[in-house]
């Protein structure tokens, strides 16, 4: 066979390169082995498990109040949402009625947490795309204001441990309402800033449009959920489709994208932040005085035997708690359905065929929290 000399000269060879575990753009301790042909990715093998602490197993040795703290340590960017799944599961199993005020406060805090988590995303994502500094620092500035509020309420900036089966650990401070309004104003300005900084920015668009697209059917097959799924055009939002708390009583839109590419995943999140602000404003109107814990709550909570799966819409998707109880004050088995783990499955499909530089962007667009993936 007479080969084309031109092709022979440029014959390429597949190469394996390691990204992570200590890579600044892997959002935690995460390792990808990329097969590359020149600059094009031909294979992706993600390695997870570096952050595995056995949170599920640990929770089996904890009573229901102690377990709340461990939920914080799985989903550390949306702790309120993680705690919520857990306490809702326990409450349903034990048949506890939660006072109204506690539910509204929970809703406000969860949506505020969604804001802070999405700010974290826009910042980190901006960095991945290459707008280093500006987007990151701007969104962290807004997140800082939110964390200050959380600290004033719960006493901690990250590990709140504030929800309890039955309600809240303690009452919110007196100036809660005025502080939330203040924080919302700054968050709205922050959303405007991020919008102005990124959404129409030509460089940003060139890096994100058409990159890492995944079709709705594939996304469903991989079990994706949350904004990453909605970006592909599937209008699934557990707040609307499997309601919990008082979400049926507030108005909000379920944001969806069309192309399912990296840009859509970013844009869905940005628009979702506006919806969160809307929800919080409605909650603030409905918030009335009242107790924050049920009148009769045993000192040590025990659940009847049974099992339950409770899921909520966390900022990254469906955060579910599967709890098996054989009676007593602790779970017999606890399984955490991690949104990020399922979303991460689709990484391979998304990345193959794109450039190495885009792999970082695609990974960033899934918005993973490794502590939640590994648990």
């Amino acid at each position: 066979m007479v080969a084309n000399t031109h092709e022979q000269e440029f014959e390429t060879q597949e190469l394996l390169i390691n990204m992570g575990p200590q890579h600044p753009s892997t959002h935690g301790v995460f390792r990808m082995v990329l097969g590359v042909d020149g600059e094009v990715v031909t294979d992706v093998v993600p390695h997870i498990g570096y952050m595995h602490r056995g949170a599920e197993k640990l929770c089996e040795t904890m009573d229901f109040r102690q377990g709340v703290g461990y939920m914080d340590r799985t989903e550390y960017l949306a702790n309120f949402n993680a705690e919520l799944s857990y306490v809702l599961a326990v409450e349903k199993l034990a048949g506890i009625e939660v006072p109204e005020r506690a539910q509204w406060v929970r809703m406000i805090l969860c949506e505020l947490n969604r804001l802070s988590s999405h700010f974290m995303f826009t910042g980190a994502f901006g960095t991945d795309v290459g707008v280093f500094g500006t987007a990151f620092v701007y969104s962290f500035r807004e997140r800082e204001v939110l964390l200050d509020l959380f600290e004033e309420i719960t006493g901690d900036r990250l590990m709140y441990a504030y929800f309890r089966p039955g309600g809240l650990a303690w009452e919110v401070p007196d100036n809660f309402e005025s502080r939330v309004h203040e924080v919302l104003l700054s968050a709205e300005r922050g959303i405007r800033d991020m919008d102005g900084l990124l959404t129409q920015n030509e460089i940003f668009l060139a890096r994100t449009k058409g990159v890492g697209a995944i079709s709705a059917a594939d996304a469903i097959d991989w079990g994706m959920s949350g904004p990453s799924l909605r970006a592909s055009g599937v209008p699934l939002d557990l707040r609307r489709d499997d309601p919990y708390l008082y979400y049926p009583q507030v108005k909000f839109d379920v944001i969806t994208g069309e192309a399912g590419d990296v840009f859509d995943r970013y844009h869905v999140r940005l628009k979702e932040m506006r919806e969160s602000v809307r929800i919080i404003e409605q909650c603030m109107e409905r918030l009335a005085d009242g107790p924050i814990l049920p009148e009769r709550l045993p000192r040590m909570l025990r659940t009847p035997p049974g099992e339950i799966y409770e899921r909520t819409e966390a900022p990254r998707g469906e955060y579910g708690i599967y709890l098996v109880s054989q009676g007593g004050n602790r779970p017999y088995r606890l399984k955490i359905r991690s949104a990020c783990l399922s979303n991460l499955q689709a990484l391979r499909d998304m990345t193959i065929g794109h450039y190495v530089a885009d792999a970082v962007v695609i990974l960033g667009s899934i918005d993973i929290v490794l502590c939640e993936v590994d648990r």
């Binding site: 904890m62 109040r65 102690q66 709340v68 703290g69 461990y70 340590r73 500006t134 701007y138 500035r141 800082e144 204001v145 600290e151 004033e152 309420i153 719960t154 006493g155 901690d156 590990m159 441990a161 650990a169 303690w170 009452e171 401070p173 800033d193 102005g196 900084l197 990124l198 959404t199 129409q200 920015n201 030509e202 460089i203 940003f204 668009l205």
Partner: protein, 156 residues
């Protein structure tokens, strides 16, 4: 082009806003009253002894088992000619700050309001060369409140 101009305008717009960053450690921001650093014990100035009776409730409720409590008969109890109403009192108390996950449960379960989370900067700025130095004993745990250097907050 339009998008870049808009982004630049956003950047320029922030020139008039103050920063949220602070020059730590030269300057400390005020921290909220509910701030939770690590747990410490409170001192009862009326009878000049700790509030803690050594009832083990916190020790049993701690998720990470970082507390060790030993109780003794209170030598200052009224039956022994003292002035205190506490029949039992704390003898030895250790909290391993290196293991504590600052969950506030010990404060919640205490029936005597004897323990509180440190809400001052000194509670956060603990750094040692040896982990064993993070195991705080009774005098260390009591020192700050005894010196009046804390305005404690215990959830009602």
């Amino acid at each position: 082009m339009r998008g870049i101009v808009r982004a630049m305008a956003t950047t320029l717009g922030t020139f008039v806003r103050g920063p949220v960053t602070r020059e730590y450690p030269e300057r400390h921001r005020p921290i909220p009253q509910r701030d939770r650093a690590f747990p410490l014990l409170l001192w009862d100035f009326d009878t000049d002894e700790p509030f803690c009776t050594g009832c083990h409730a916190c020790e049993r409720a701690c998720p990470v088992e970082c507390m060790t409590v030993l109780m003794k008969d209170n030598p200052a109890h009224t039956s022994l000619g003292g002035t205190s109403k506490r029949r039992k009192i704390i003898d030895k108390f250790w909290i391993d700050y290196a293991r504590c996950m600052r969950c506030n449960i010990c404060v919640e379960v205490c029936n005597f309001d004897a323990i509180a989370m440190n809400n001052t900067w000194s509670g956060h700025e603990i750094s040692v060369y040896d982990r064993a130095d993070l195991v705080m004993d009774l005098p260390q745990l009591l020192a700050q409140h005894k010196a009046g250097a804390i305005d404690e907050w215990v959830a009602p």
